[in-house]
Amino acid sequence: MNLTLKVWRQKNSSAKGTFETYQLDNVDVHASFLEMFDVLNEKLINEGKEPVAFDHDCREGICGTCSMVINGRAHGPLQNTTTCQLHMRHFKDGDTIVVEPWRSKAFPVLKDLVVDRGAFDRIIAAGGFVSVNTGQAPDANTIPVKKEKAELAFDAAACIGCGACVAACKNSSAMLFVSAKVSHLALLPQGNAERYSRVLNMVAQMDKEGFGSCTNTNACEAECPKGISVTNIARLNREYLAASLAAQKK
């Protein structure tokens, strides 16, 4: 298949970016979207041009780095699919495909399609963990966990921190990501001790990073490659309300 690609090119975070148009012929329909970009880059290198910088690591749909907004959709048109798991057979011969980076103040573009998702790391560092004391590793089943809660926690834990929720949200809100991380730990007894301080600190960091707030449009859930549910956002609202009300005077 033959494609016209309009790709966002930006030298560095302070440069002004523009779209470059590339013609790519004989694309294999079974190639993944990233493999298609590999072919494009090979072509660009052969022509003595700068290849397109894009993030990728596992190419198995689990690391969450392959951030691309494809024709206005984070990770492209398929549901529950990362860019690396999107294949060219979902496009038509002769298509024009517009590829942009995640666009959010909190995710500055580093180069071309690569953005800095350090904001997510700082949110996790603010409270998205369980403090572990030293000593022997405890037996796996010493603490009973209700099956339903374990299932919900596991669903939330499936978040790979890709940032598609932020990219898809009209407010660049990180609510789905933060709610997944808060839910994952709040639902388990191991996370209970730090439950309130965690949600307060993570939300404070989220706001500090410059993400927007939640208008409940559900765009995040629709674009999340891991099917994280917006019920987690409701839980985050609940947890934060309870934590704020229960917090002692400083």
């Binding site: 779209f19 959010s104 660049s172 409940n216 765009a219």
Partner: protein, 221 residues
């Protein structure tokens, strides 16, 4: 601290929004009385009651506060949200993942706001501070009914009113259920009922507010 966080601001928007939703029920019920064919006696009597009852008088201030807080908070939230995406996408496929109403709450709110200013000037201030042009009806109550009938004889006003009510309708179509989720209220058993009641409420309230000007315009053609 809580109320200046992104979540806290939404608690405030949701609470004031739900309060305004309850106000609309009272307001619509009163307005529908203008359709009773008794020359406006019931409608004017109700208006008189609303004007003189102490509880209602206090609630009027609460209502003003509710509107002002909801509007100010919506401006702050919308500005923060816009600032969170300084460079826009070249291709926007928002319709693939969300409803139109949910993406345009700010515009819909602005339509309601513009309407609100005009509406208050024509009815509320007319009643409160207007020179006594309105006159009294047969029961001795201020004849606001006359103002209603005369206003909706005018096409521009009637049209504006109806357009604004569509704005309100779409605002509520998303806002009703949204406010519950902003407050953390989401449950597999109750949320479908909340969503259903929200849509039913929206249809009834929007249709109700549209029927009144439409009726008065059409009977005076």
């Amino acid at each position: 601290m809580m109320f200046t966080s992104s979540l806290g601001r939404k608690y405030v928007m949701a609470l004031t929004g739900l309060f305004l939703i309850s106000f609309l029920v009272v307001h619509l019920s009163g307005n529908l009385l203008s359709l009773i064919p008794d020359g406006g006696l019931t409608f004017n009597a109700f208006t008189h009651f609303m004007e003189t009852n102490l509880v209602i008088k206090v609630m009027e201030y609460v209502l003003f506060a509710g509107f002002i807080i909801h509007i100010l908070q919506s401006v702050v939230v919308t500005l923060i949200n816009q600032r969170a995406r300084p460079s826009k996408y070249a291709v926007n496929a928002g319709s693939a993942s969300s409803t139109w109403a949910s993406r345009n709450m700010g515009i819909l709110g602005t339509i309601i706001f513009i309407f609100l200013v005009i509406h208050l000037r024509d009815f509320f201030f007319e009643l409160k501070f207007g020179d006594d042009e309105l006159g009294l009806d047969a029961s001795g109550n201020v004849n606001l009914y006359k103002e209603v009938v005369e206003t909706f004889a005018m096409l521009p006003y009637t049209a504006l009113y109806i357009v604004a009510m569509f704005g309100l309708g779409f605002h509520l179509w998303h806002g009703f259920a949204s406010s519950f989720r902003s407050l953390g209220l989401m449950h597999s058993k109750y949320t479908p009922a909340i969503v259903f009641i929200g849509k039913l409420y929206t249809i009834i309230v929007t249709a109700g507010f549209i029927i009144i000007p439409l009726y008065w315009y059409l009977v005076q053609l």
